[in-house]
Symmetry: C2
Subunit: 316 residues, 2 copies
């Protein structure tokens, strides 16, 4: 199947569409982290985005791009994380239903988040098979359109607006960094980076324990993770097909980092910047701390992807 790949023009259109309802999040810097790393780091704070993560950009674009005939029927997904909450809120803001399939053993905190944004939850067994089957049933019954959390044209375009704002607000960078899980954020970021910051490097950082993007990038073919394991719970998913095609074309390098460095980076951001980020958001700084990326004397733009953590269960 030939997939149409999003271009920067599509991200510009997405930005026009969503900018009335997404936060233009601030870009923060930290003198002490700059001193420790030797670089000039600019952090795009998507932890301050609605729903606490960049995911609200993609979900908003997907919902706002729906045709009129689809509006009554709504949207659906089987994500149980930030995407589900983001889709539920974006749907509610447009007054349409969002159906979310979740495993019945999902943490109470995630169920609560989706419910609080008005998502209609259907529980299933905690297997991918059950999730997909239940989602199909829901989609059949309701006519709701599935919005995949990352392997989706409109979602990618929405995610790319964060890097667009970062470059617009803080100028050009020697390096742009973001984490990679399913690749929604990375593929969107890479499109914006190539268009607006063509002389800089686009590098992604990935946990060692869920390194399918790294392996796929170097093998030049999709190699999904088997039993991925990392503290960065937002990055357990394997890269999507559409995402991978973009990543192959527009990313300069993917590096991997240890969970130990992720926890250290997360703690450094909490302590030095006084902001809350989730482990996944700390992965790019972890790569700098582990000397996987040389930032000495360089201007570096970093997407802090989100801030949803369970305060009862911190890694430090």
């Amino acid at each position: 199947m030939i997939l149409k790949l999003p271009e920067f023009q599509d991200i510009q259109e997405a930005h026009e569409l969503i900018k009335g309802q997404v936060h233009r999040t601030p870009v923060l810097t930290s003198q002490s982290i700059n001193e420790m790393t030797g670089g000039k780091l600019f952090f795009k704070c998507e932890n301050f985005q609605k729903v606490g993560a960049f995911k609200f950009r993609g979900a908003s674009n997907a919902v706002l791009s729906l045709g009129k005939n689809q509006l009554l029927k709504g949207v659906c997904t089987h994500s149980s994380g930030n995407h589900a909450a983001a889709l539920a809120l974006a749907a509610r803001m447009r007054g349409i239903p969002a159906y979310v399939v979740m495993p019945d053993n999902a943490p109470a905190i995630k169920k609560k988040a989706v419910e609080s944004y008005g998502g209609r939850i259907t529980y299933c067994q905690p297997t991918l098979e059950s999730r997909e089957k239940t989602l199909l049933e829901i989609a059949d019954k309701t006519g709701a359109k599935e919005i995949h959390p990352y392997n989706n044209f409109q979602v990618i375009c929405g995610q790319g607006t964060a890097a667009k704002e970062l470059i617009e607000d803080s100028g050009n960078f020697d390096i742009i960094l973001c984490p990679v899980g399913g690749g929604g954020l990375l593929s969107g970021t890479a499109i914006s980076a190539r268009a607006l910051n063509p002389n800089g490097l686009m590098i992604a950082a990935e946990p060692e324990g869920a390194d399918d993007a790294y392996r796929s990038f170097h093998a030049k073919m999709l190699v999904p993770s088997i039993n991925p394991k990392t503290i960065a719970d937002g990055l357990l998913t394997s890269v999507g097909e559409l995402n991978f095609r973009i990543i192959q074309r527009k990313t300069d390098e993917i590096v991997t980092v240890s969970d130990r460095a992720i926890i250290r980076a997360m703690r450094m951001i909490w302590e030095r910047m006084k902001i809350i980020v989730e482990p996944s958001a700390a992965v790019p700084l972890a790569a700098i701390l582990e000397n996987k990326i040389d930032v000495n004397g360089k201007r570096v733009g970093i997407i802090l992807s989100g801030g949803n953590v369970d305060l009862e269960n911190l890694p430090f």
Copy 2:
């Protein structure tokens, strides 16, 4: 002794003096906290200030106000908290010594903070008597000028610049709120509030377990705390004399809150705003949550005093 009380003109001068070296911290809002409380809350983020607390304003003003003859001799204090770190950094930025007397049982994290900013620590026994005696010895030996953490004209003027910025940046308020411990922040805030926001109420919030400001305010005389106990470790000190005179004249009300509400408010700020604040900073929101202050439909300016917490020892 007749004490000269600071006026708003003194805060304006302090602001001119320090604004090259203090952050003009952002004012954040939270839609979900507004929905929960019914008010329009504007949070002045002094947790993003240098050293992680508003204390850097007062310390900067004290250090930058020193006469030339005093510069070589430096400054000293026996605070062991945010003020000591703030004074150490302000002194280092001016290239002068800061001597800090600390009890030998002070937490390692506090010693480290003061050291990292270049403070010269002298350890003493963990009694007020030993601290004061050791400070006197240091001051005698070095000629360093003692900068009291709150009962000090220049410190009060520096602290008042936070509220000045808040009103300048976010307009007039129906209510301005801040926490009260020694009263440095409250006295400075109240001077700015009366001058720039004369039609609004100036209310302070204090932990129940360290309620000397509340009792003093209502008794119209200083009533120090005996064995204060609260999770808000920055508010254990009793109000200073100079501070109390200003508070009596310029504060409309002082309310007290339970530690339980403080922890709830702190957690709400972490979870909803994705920023890190220390328990003391959460005290004003705690007062709103405990219905001690009615904010329904009102514009409320709140000073978030600081963000220095021990991540190993969170109350949730």
